[in-house]
Symmetry: C2
Subunit: 193 residues, 2 copies
DNA sequence: AAAAAACCTTGATGTATGTTAAGTAACTAT
DNA sequence: ATAGTTACTTAACATACATCAAGGTTTTTT
């Protein structure tokens, strides 16, 4: 059960059989239909989410109603509304299924107990957060230093699988440009070939 | 010794006297003169840095030679080249003293031993990384959704102490705009008053 | 199968911010 | 004190990207 998840974890920490079982016991499965919300802005979101299958998108809606994609999550990725999770405040973002999806949730309470009982999990998430830290910094610098066409190329290189399965307008909203601009960028790239 | 640091840590985890002593024993002090590098792009950077006094800036220099400020760190803040630290690769960014500064360093080796010996430290850094995660996401969304003048106002509100002690061109390079633009923005703001 | 959404593209036009250039003021070092 | 950086401002001009509007295509729903 949940072999991929366990294998993923095994690449960071070694677990005994009891620890594995304990961990698996706190996971709560959830299914979403395409376009269904996992979390809505204003909701209390008190769990970490692991994607078994499908694809989620986290996005922020600004005052003008424009959607800004914060992150995507596909198979074997984690996602969460970290803001809501650590502050206890209602979520500021939406998390929505882009495809029919299967998730595993870990409630905050269970998570807190888990890391106290098995510090190796604290370690696992510390390491994952360090990687996210680096990825975030990279994204910030790229947004500041590179024009949109280059950011798009980077995206397609870094996440070729995402490029395939996402509508272009969502990629645009992740890159911080309009769908119209992305369309023109793609036309230029084809011509340049 | 290092009361502020210990108080900071105490707000997250409780330490015994021996644990405190162990922790303090791995800290290595370092002093920097204004404009001196702490880390240079290309260096191996294998430590976490705590700022006792002064102010540091981490920045990336792009192909055109333009500097993009990734982060600032003042008293009681941590900074590091996380990329170099977790990959073992040479640093991609520079960390420079903006004022004469006093630092405390934790070598990666010592850090790794520390968190294994005292899992509470794993917890401390996990929590700090979660906060950084939220701050990073916020910065990404703000850069995408808000015009430069509003981002500048946010910055002055969020970091009033930084606003005071930093030259404007460094703030501009943090906000992702040119010093000329920031100058114009400030003039408009004064007029609007 | 038809209707309705959602998606993508294209063109005309607008705007925030960058670039280049110049000048003044404020530190810093000799 | 003097000369030399470094910081900040202003103006004229350039440009990447947004906005608005429309039409065509694909996908989803009924």
């Amino acid at each position: 059960m949940h072999e991929t998840l366990l294998k993923n974890i095994a690449s960071f920490i070694e677990l005994t059989d009891e620890e594995k079982e304990y961990f698996l016991s706190i996971l709560r499965p959830k299914k979403l239909r395409k376009r269904q919300y996992h979390v809505q802005a204003g909701d209390m979101c008190r769990y970490e989410t692991y994607v078994v299958k499908g694809c989620l998108r986290q996005y922020y809606v600004d005052d003008e109603g424009i959607e800004h994609t914060v992150s995507f999550a596909i198979e074997d990725w984690w996602t969460s509304d970290m803001y809501g999770l650590i502050t206890g405040n209602p979520s500021l973002t939406n998390i929505e299924a882009i495809e029919d999806s299967e998730l595993l949730l870990i409630e905050k309470n269970d998570f807190d107990k888990l890391v106290l009982a098995v510090p190796k999990f604290e370690r696992l998430f510390r390491i994952k957060l360090q990687r996210a830290f680096v990825a975030h910094q990279r994204r910030i610098v790229e947004n500041m230093s590179m024009p949109a066409d280059q950011r798009y190329l980077n995206f397609t290189e870094q996440y070729p699988s995402l490029e395939q399965r996402l509508p272009l307008k969502l990629i645009a909203s992740y890159l911080g440009i309009t769908p119209e601009s992305l369309s023109r960028i793609r036309r230029q790239l084809v011509k340049g070939k």
